[in-house]
C-alpha cells in the first residue's frame, strides 16, 4: 500500500507502524461521572467496520508524524490521508 503523506508525498506503507481506529484520538474525560465506563469502551471496544475505516498510522521510519488514514478495509484502497494533528484540532483538541 502507498500512503500519500500530506507533507512528504507518496510513501511505502512499510515505513509506517499501525496503531488502530482514529477514534483513539477522542480520549474520554477522566472527570466525567461515568469515566470508568467510557474508558472501558475507549480502550477495549471497536467499531471494526468492513469498508471505510479512519485509522492512525505513525511514520516511524520517516518524519515521525502521526497520520489519520481513511482506508477501505475490504479492498485496502486508501481514500484520504491527513495529519493527525489537523484531524485532532478539527475535533476541538488543543494539540
Amino acid at each position: 500500500m502507498i500512503i500519500n503523506h500530506p507533507i512528504l508525498g507518496p510513501r511505502d506503507s512499510q515505513e509506517f507502524t499501525y496503531l488502530g481506529d482514529a477514534a483513539l484520538i477522542d480520549r474520554p474525560d477522566w472527570q466525567a461521572e461515568d469515566a470508568a465506563d467510557q474508558f472501558h469502551d475507549y480502550l477495549y471496544l471497536r467499531d471494526n467496520p468492513a469498508g471505510a475505516h479512519r485509522e492512525l498510522w505513525f511514520h516511524e521510519q520517516g518524519d515521525r508524524s502521526w497520520l489519520v488514514v481513511t482506508r477501505n478495509t475490504v479492498t485496502h484502497e486508501i481514500l484520504n490521508v491527513e495529519l493527525a494533528r489537523d484531524a485532532a484540532r478539527a475535533r476541538g483538541r488543543s494539540k
Binding site: 488502530g20 471494526n48 482506508r71 475490504v74
Partner: protein
Amino acid sequence: MRYSGLKVIKEALTGHKGWRPTWRDPEPKKSYDVVIIGGGGHGLATAYYLAKNHGITNVAVIEKGWIGGGNVGRNTTIIRSNYLLDGNEPFYELSLKLWEGLEQDFNYNAMVSQRGILNLVHTDAQRDAARRRGNAMILNGSDAELLDTNGVRAMYPFLNFNNARFPIKGGLLHRRGGTVRHDAVAWGYARGADLRGVDIIQNCEVTGFKIENGKCLGVETTKGFIGANKVASCVAGSSSRVMEKAGMRLPIESHVLQAFVSEGLKPVLDGVITFGAGHFYCSQSDKGGLVFGGDLDMYNSYAQRGNLPVVEDVMEGGMALIPSLGRVRMLRSWGGIMDMSMDGSPYIDKTHVDGLYFNGGWCYGGFKATPASGWCYAHLLATDTPHKVATEYRLDRFRKGRMIDEKGQGAQPNLH
C-alpha cells in the same frame, strides 16, 4: 452411511456407484431450538456436540457461503496445547484430548497426525520463559520437553544454528501437537451433526436479528425469517459485522493473516517448527508441500488477501532458519481474516440480549480450538452455564480486570 475399509473395497469393486451425499441440503424450517450462525469448524462442532452430548437435535447451522469455506479451510492445520495461563491451558488441553479421539468419535478420517511441535529459543530469557510455559503445560496435563541445541540438532540438522542474530539455543518440544486435515474436520462434524438431525443450510446469509423486549426471537436471512429459542453466533473473522446487527460493539479487530504452500517435496520436515523471533513457522503436508506462515499484516482488514511486505518478511524468516529453502518454489499464498481480541484470547459467552450467544475472538488459535470450542459452546447453549474449562472466556473480562493476556501486550490486538 458409516465409512469402513470394507465399504471402500466394496465401492471400488462396484464402480463407486453406492456413495451418497454426506449431508442433506434441507430448506430451513420455520423455527428451531437453536440456530447457529456460521458453518465453519466451530459452528459445525457446536451443532455436533449439541446433538451428541446434550440430545438437542432441533438445530440449524446457517452459512452464507458453503460450509468449511472460511477460516477452517484457510489455516495452517496445526493443533497444540502449549499455553501458559490458567484461563487458557485447560481449555486447549481438552481440545487436544478431543482431537486425539476425534476420528473414531465421528467416524471420519481427519488425518490427525501428532508429529510434534518445536518452539525454538535463542536466548537465556527465552529458555526461562519456555521452561515456565512447559511446566504450566505439564501441570495442566499436557506434555513438554525442553531441548538443548544438540537435542534440536538431532531432530533437524538442516536448520541454521549459527544465525548471527538468533542462534538456536534449544527449543520447547510438545510431542502431542501436530497437524490435521482441516477440511475433513468441517466435513466430519457436518456429517456427524446431519446424521443426528441437524439441518445444515448453506448459501443463507443472516441479514438481521429479531430482538423484542431484550429477547432474541430469531434471525432474518436471505431465505426468510428463522425463529429460534437460542441464536448462537459463531463467525470468527466477521464477528463485528454480524453482531453489529444486534447493536453490539465487540472487543475485536479484524486482521488478515497470510499463509503459504510450496511445491511438493520429498519428506524433509516431519514435525512443526516455530521460529517466533523471526516471524516464521513451518510444517510439511502429507502431499509434500511446505506449509508456512508468519505475522499479521498488522492493519485492520476484511480482504482475504494480504500485501507483499509480509510475504517478503515471511520468506526472509524462512531463509534465516532453513537456508535450503532458497531453492524451493512457492506454489500458493492466501489470507484469512482473524478476530483479533483485546488480550489475544477468545470469547464463549452469553450477550446482553436474552437468547443470543457469542463465540469468537479466536485470533490465530481458532483451528486447534475447534473441538473444545464446539464442546464448550454446546455446553453453554444447553445448560446456560459456562463449561468449567471456558469460564474465563467472558465478554466483560476487561471491565473486571480479568484479561487472559499470554504475551502481556495490553489492548493492542495486532500485537497478540
